[in-house]
């Protein structure tokens, strides 16, 4: 699936991830969309809030439920120049998680900053 886009327009895309992994397919599909979308040279941010923060939890092991373990793919994002990963501090705290529990380097932001981040975007994709 090779796709190219030569439109020359650059827009700001944000992918908002609010669900725990594996219970639904949305977290996996969010990552797939970001990886495919990388070919379009847009400005891409990923935001993890609410149960979405569990997507970045270390030590996920999906063998016994026979699912693909896509968590590792978050580590590949850097190679695709997707480097703006935001995680909401309050979402971590409510779940007893700390930054060190996460698979990849992220920027932790306060809940009060979330609307500011979203209001800078052109396109919001929610998963």
């Amino acid at each position: 699936m090779e796709e190219e886009y030569a439109g020359g327009v650059e827009k700001k895309f944000i992918y908002i991830n609010r669900r725990a992994p594996h219970g639904t397919v949305y977290p996996l599909e969010s990552l797939e969309t970001v990886l495919i979308g990388a070919a379009f040279d847009q400005d891409v941010s990923m935001l993890f809030i609410d149960d979405g923060v569990y997507q970045l939890k270390k030590d996920q092991s999906t063998e016994s439920i026979e699912f693909k373990n896509f968590a590792k793919a978050f580590r590949a994002l850097e190679m695709y120049d997707v480097e703006k990963l935001f995680v909401e501090a309050e979402s971590l705290q409510e779940r007893g998680l700390v930054e060190d529990d996460l698979l990849v380097d992220v920027e932790v932001i306060a809940r009060a900053k979330v609307s500011e981040l979203i209001d800078q975007q052109d396109v919001v994709l929610s998963f």
Binding site: K11, E29, G37, S126
Partner: protein, 130 residues
């Protein structure tokens, strides 16, 4: 304005596909251009021509196909989602050695890039899901 739509759910189970359709009709009636509807996840199930809903109920697939025909709306089904859900056109049938084709008129199967492109080229992208 140029508006694109993202539909994440299949027909009948959730209201998402109905809401998306009603929105498209109203957008066109208001003089806007609905350039593309991208069907993702279970949304690709909107594009099978094998449904036979009860006669006194709405025919969701036919409504979409009619919208494509009358207004040139580009109805795109995500190929990876189609493979997981069993929506097949001629190319997919040959590639994956299937016995049947079930993609409905007016729908085409293509890649996720079509969603990104819709985001870039439209003035607004509106998502309907669960």
């Amino acid at each position: 304005m140029k508006i694109s739509i993202l539909v994440n759910e299949g027909p009948y189970q959730h209201q998402a596909s109905d809401s998306a359709y009603q929105f498209c009709v109203a957008a066109i009636d208001s003089g806007h251009e609905v350039s593309r509807v991208f069907f993702y996840h279970d949304g690709v199930n909107n594009g099978t021509n094998l449904t036979t809903p009860p006669q006194d109920d709405r025919h969701i697939q036919k409504r979409w196909s009619a919208l494509a025909e009358s207004n040139g709306v580009d109805l795109v089904l995500c190929v990876a989602a189609c493979q997981r859900r069993g929506i097949v056109d001629e190319g997919e049938r040959d590639r994956n050695k299937k016995d049947a084709i079930n993609v409905a008129d007016g729908f085409r199967i293509s890649g996720l890039g079509q969603l990104i492109e819709a985001g870039i080229e439209s003035d607004r992208l509106v998502t309907f899901g669960d």
